[in-house]
Symmetry: C2
Subunit: 229 residues, 2 copies
């Protein structure tokens, strides 16, 4: 009759998050510059350690909140890294997540306090440890996911134009898309609400604003509904 596994080894578990954001310039990630050793001054994903009384999702949410001041960020766990010497300080495994955030909706102050900044996905500096590998895998996962399920909306403000949405998908998939084909495809999915409101900042004519319709989307999920762009 066992009531503990005390003979078994224990290890430290880190959580590292790729925080994706999107603006006019394209797809970006949030990085922090380490101000402690080892690797002081190098760039790093946002991370932290798992506490014994929380789940991985809770830890990831906590870490995201600490840095951005935002709750309920969309996120997904994607791989657990375990190379023996991946962290030179001490044996540590890392569970990696990616998160999608509306880039306008975070606490600037916090980010400054933490020495964090946004970097275009095309110009990411060398990262510490195995964070390059994480980014690579996380980005691939994001691409695959967004072309199957419309999670991309999490990167946009609540109201957005069709062109913004198209630019977002172009940024994620890293390829140009045809305007008419894109709009036809999106409309055929029937998961957007067209508002009686226009964004006048971009042109004289103004362009209609849309919202993501979570209810319609959830209703469709029951079938084998999916998006392919």
């Amino acid at each position: 009759m066992l009531n503990s596994y005390t003979k078994e080894d224990k290890v430290m578990l880190a959580i590292d998050c790729i925080i994706f954001g999107f603006d006019e310039e394209g797809l970006k990630i949030l990085l922090i510059k380490r101000d402690f050793e080892p690797e002081r001054g190098k760039w790093s994903l946002i991370g932290g350690f798992l506490k014994v009384n929380e789940t991985l999702d809770e830890a990831a949410s906590r870490i995201l909140y600490t840095l951005t001041g935002v709750h309920d960020i969309y996120m997904e766990q994607f791989y657990t890294y375990s190379e023996i010497d991946r962290d030179p300080v001490e044996r540590t495994l890392s569970v990696s997540y990616y998160a999608l955030i509306d880039i306008e909706r975070h606490n600037e102050e916090l980010i400054e306090n933490y020495n964090a900044s946004w970097h275009s996905i095309a110009e990411v500096p060398k990262l510490i440890f195995d964070h390059d590998k994480m980014l690579d895998k996380g980005l691939k996962r994001l691409r695959r996911r967004t072309s199957i399920v419309p999670i991309g909306f999490n990167l946009l403000p609540e109201k957005f134009t069709m062109l913004q949405l198209q630019k977002l998908y172009e940024a994620i998939l890293d390829k140009p898309l045809d305007k008419r084909n894109f709009i036809n495809k999106i409309n055929s999915m029937d998961i957007l609400i067209k508002l009686n409101e226009k964004d006048m900042s971009s042109s004289t004519k103004g362009s209609f604003l849309y919202m993501f319709d979570g209810e319609k989307y959830n209703a469709k999920l029951t079938d084998n509904f999916y998006l392919k762009l």
Copy 2:
């Protein structure tokens, strides 16, 4: 100047493996009947604990070898589970893997010693802890992967007939496939070697045997080659 993270919590990490096999009856998984508490007599995935000096892949390989006597089994990590009470004995996280094995190529004795047995995917009993959830996610992942990349060959003996291959894909994807469309698709991928050898056990006419051509496949991987069934 830090040279340890000693203040941080440590946890135990289990590795649980879904071992897939395939025979005339269809897709199967290998389960063990627990002969210790808690949950004695219930069915469980094959698992073990991470040791402090090995990677997760090494631990998974070790666990697979212990039970099957086979090295170099195809496997893939797919998710890390961390609910606080997922294991009632003690706080334990579990990194889950699925593995694909030629069902004829394992050590029967070992399997018997461990109280293990094969179960058709359609008739899996209730499993302990969160192993049902793992199986569900692992199976979905296998389905998605096999319809993109031809990993299914790992479930077959070295030489196999077209019909066997088709049955395998039907079992994994859980839907009937059209014989001619299937053969055309497979042939168009050009990753099989047709042998001058026939399997005479299944019919009077006999059917040609094929082998998977790993080299051709790897050569194609460089492009954006993929299989869709």
